[in-house]
Point group: C2
Chain length 181, copies 2
Amino acid sequence: MNKFEEKTVSTEQIFKGKIISVQVDEVELPNGKLSKREIVRHPGAVGLIALTDDNKIVMVEQFRKPLERSLLEIPAGKLEPGENPDVTAERELEEETGYRAGNMEYISSFYTSPGFANEIIHLYLATELEKVENPAEADDDEFVELVELSLEESLVCIENDRIYDAKTIFAIQYLQLMEKK
Amino acid sequence: MNKFEEKTVSTEQIFKGKIISVQVDEVELPNGKLSKREIVRHPGAVGLIALTDDNKIVMVEQFRKPLERSLLEIPAGKLEPGENPDVTAERELEEETGYRAGNMEYISSFYTSPGFANEIIHLYLATELEKVENPAEADDDEFVELVELSLEESLVCIENDRIYDAKTIFAIQYLQLMEKK
C-alpha cells in the first residue's frame, strides 16, 4: 500500500504540545515535483461501546473546545506512549464511567482524518459492566457527565446534533447492524 | 450545549498553513482552574458516497503522508472559504472521479476528531452518475486512482485494512443499513 508514494525531502517540526505535534514535510510527488504536507501527530486513542445489562449505551457529555460546545460521545481516551490499546480501554472505561467490564472485545480501528493527521481510534465493545467502588479518577482537567441511552434515544441525539462525532456515529451504526443480524 | 464550558483566557496562534492552522488556548475550567487546549483549525470537507448504476461504490486510492501509506477512500475534498458544501460536493465528485451526479442528496455530517480539531465532514449520496467528457482537474499535487467496488468487496477491504478511515467506514455502514431496510 504505497501507491503514489511521496518521498520525504525534509521535515520541519512546528510544534510539540502535550497531546499533538505538528510538522511540515517537503515531499517529492510521483511526477517528481515538490510539495508540502502539513501533518498532525497524535498518540492514538481507544473508543468504548459500553453496554449495560439493560442494553443502554454508556455515553459521556463533555465540552469540546475546538467546537466551543459540548457533545455526547462514547467514552474514549488517548494511549500512553507505547501502551497496548487493550490496557487503555480498561483504564479509560473505569476513569470516564466508573465501570469495569466483565467482557471486553476488540472490534476494529480507523483513522479519523488521514489527510492531515495520523490519529487512529481502536474501538472496543465492553459488556457485563459493574460499577467500581472507588474508581480511578480522570485527568484533573477533564469534566464529563455520564448519560445512558437506548439505541433509539441515540438515534434521536444524532438527529438533533447532540451526537455529532465519527467514533460515536460508528458505534451506533455498529449496534444497529448487530441488531439486524 | 455548553455544559462544562471552558472560557478562553488567551489564544496563541502557533501555525498558519495552507490547509490547517494550530493554536493553543488557555482556558478557565468549570472548577476555576486554568488549563491549555491544543486546537487544529480545518476548513471542513465533503465526502461522497457515489454509486454507479450497477451499484458499485466509487472509491479513490491515494497516498496519505501522515500514515506513510495509501488508502482506499470515498472521494472527498475540502471546502473553499465560505463555500456551501453542496457546491464542494459537485466539484469534488467531478475532479476526483470524472463523474457528474444526476442526483446528489445530503446525508449527514460529523466531526472527525472533536478532542483536538474542528474538522467537520458533510456526507452526500451521489447517484445517476455520468462520465464527464472533459472533467475539471484535481489540484496538481493530488494523485488518485479510481477503484469501483461492490459492497461485499468493500467489506473485504475493511478486513484487510485497505479501507481504514472514518468517513469511508461510515459510508459502508450506511450502505449496509440501507440494504437491510
